[in-house]
Amino acid sequence: MNMKVDIAGVTWNNPVTTASGTFASGEEYSEFVDLNILGALTTKGVSNIPWPGNPTPRIAEVYGGMLNAIGLQNPGVEVFCDRDLPFLRKYDTKIIVNVCGKTVADYCEVVERLSDEDVDMLEINISCPNVKEGGIAFGQDPRAVEAITREVKKYAGQPVIMKLSPNVTDISGMAKAAEYGGADALSLINTITGMKIDIYKRTFALANKTGGLSGPAVKPVAVRMVYQAAHAVDIPVIGMGGIADAEDALEFLLAGASAISVGTANFYHPYAAQEVVKGIKDYMITNKINDINELIGAVDR
């Protein structure tokens, strides 16, 4: 039985990774999950210099999900390379570094810094709704998506995954723009911008006013967008948004995702990523699927 998938020339042992920002750099969850079992591990966003993130409260619980406005707090690419990368390299899993920035030059700086490092893929976050500059601004205009992709590709030593925002009218157009720009793969969805108001304090539940919605609540929107994006481009798509178990993961694979990420579910079920790998395997056995690639996009076949 084959669970290996090829994502832009990088072979993962299975199609399961962790969604950026929900698994830090792996260390915290290594107590719960055997990291060797993951197809890939995607890190929290890394920027050129340390970022302090937003004021608290940074998160709020909402029905079937959560809002977050962490604001991409991270120790910066130097600490990442010195401390987190050596830790990750101990495991038999692909390493995807999620990159964030305020300007195109910021992104390129990080990408260039990582080009010689022992990193397998880069994921460019142009869809974070929680920072004032950068982030989502790049991800809501197809020309900007194409331009930043083209620029980042110039400096990249590894295949580049462009991470798309769901806060758009036309996800297919964004997917195509990234493909035109030279993206090697796509990932989606990032969080959907939302808001919660505390009716007793009559104030915003988050210091940042708005935050990104994630968790099971967003899954139907994510499946739809992954389906649309996968049908719009010829590069692989990594699907995410509300995946908590193998059944959720299989929905995305059937919709056309070549791989999937477990995100918010890690928070409330730290064994989730590992169980998703196991559950996909079980489904393949029960349904006599010899190669995981037979399932990818199979809803249309």
Binding site: G21, T22, F23, A24, E28, Y29, E31, F32, K44, P50, W51, P52, G53, T56, P57, R58, I59, A60, E61, Y63, G64, G65, M66, N68, I70, Q73, P75, G76, V79, G215, P216, T264, N266, F267, Y268, H269, P270, Y271
Partner: protein
């Protein structure tokens, strides 16, 4: 020792209006637990996914049991309050660093708890009861007090109530000044305004001071960066002026955090 599991509820009772006390059967966690650490409790209702962090109130290592005491603050704690003996509770633990107990031996300790910050003080006071002269200052809203009997076993208890129905009228600081309490070290947990006052008092009197902080949590294990507090110095892990309450805390030296 960190894991997430289904623990059996040994017992649960309402010890004051809307304040519940629950004993959980959790040998492995009890063996590892230290005062000041906490558990994440999860709801059965799938609409509510995030943890409810609740401090350890008592740890019975012999029986392998953990006690929590909590206020019904919203839908999640309401759901928890409806569990009965034999029911299963979804729990992650043990989390956080706990109070630093090394070197406290022989010191005059001020243990200060406000409202729902009182529960963690029970296990702490017991741990320190042997060799210390504990003064325990408790702040309540009104006459519906709880956990005072437990705490009296571990030191001298002073009570402040906002409405003056028991003890000093006012807050814990009023009780401290009224009774001219002194100490070499302070441990405090309670609402932020109280912690600010305690921190200022400790700084003024140059007393070593540890505060247990609260913030909204998603992961409880240091991965999501939701629960940060501002720090005076750049933190070695985050490389910015932030520490994670769930992992680096919830107990901090008052001088290192800005609240």
């Amino acid at each position: 020792m960190r894991k997430k599991t289904w623990s059996t509820v040994i017992s649960q009772e309402e010890v004051a209006p809307a304040i519940y006390s629950m004993w959980l059967d959790e040998r492995e966690m009890a063996a590892a637990a230290k005062p000041g650490q906490f558990l994440s409790l999860y709801c059965a209702d799938g609409a509510r996914l995030l943890p409810r962090p609740i401090s350890l109130c008592e740890v019975d290592k012999e029986k392998g049991a953990l006690r929590i005491v909590y206020r019904v603050a919203g839908a999640g704690t309401r759901e928890l309050s409806m569990l009965h003996t034999g029911d299963k509770a979804s729990v992650m633990g043990v989390l956080g660093n706990g109070f630093p107990l090394q070197g406290v031996q022989g010191k005059r300790v001020l243990i200060i708890g406000g409202g729902i910050g009182i529960p963690p003080m029970v296990e702490l006071a017991r741990a320190l009861a042997g060799g210390n002269d504990n003064k325990i200052i408790l702040g309540y809203r009104d006459g519906d007090i709880f956990l005072t009997d437990e705490l009296k076993k571990s030191g001298e208890v002073f009570i402040a109530t906002e409405d003056g129905s028991i003890g000093t009228r006012g807050n814990v600081m009023d009780a401290i000044s009224k009774h001219h309490l002194n100490g070499d070290i302070i441990f405090a947990c309670g609402p932020t305004p109280m912690l600010r006052a305690v921190k200022a008092y400790a700084a003024e009197h140059h007393i070593e001071c540890y505060l247990s902080l609260e913030e909204r949590m998603a992961c409880g294990v240091g991965a999501c960066l939701a629960c940060v507090c501002k720090t005076k110095e750049v933190d070695s892990h985050s490389n910015v002026h932030n520490k994670r309450i769930c992992k680096d805390g919830p107990v901090f030296n008052a001088s290192e955090v800005e609240i």
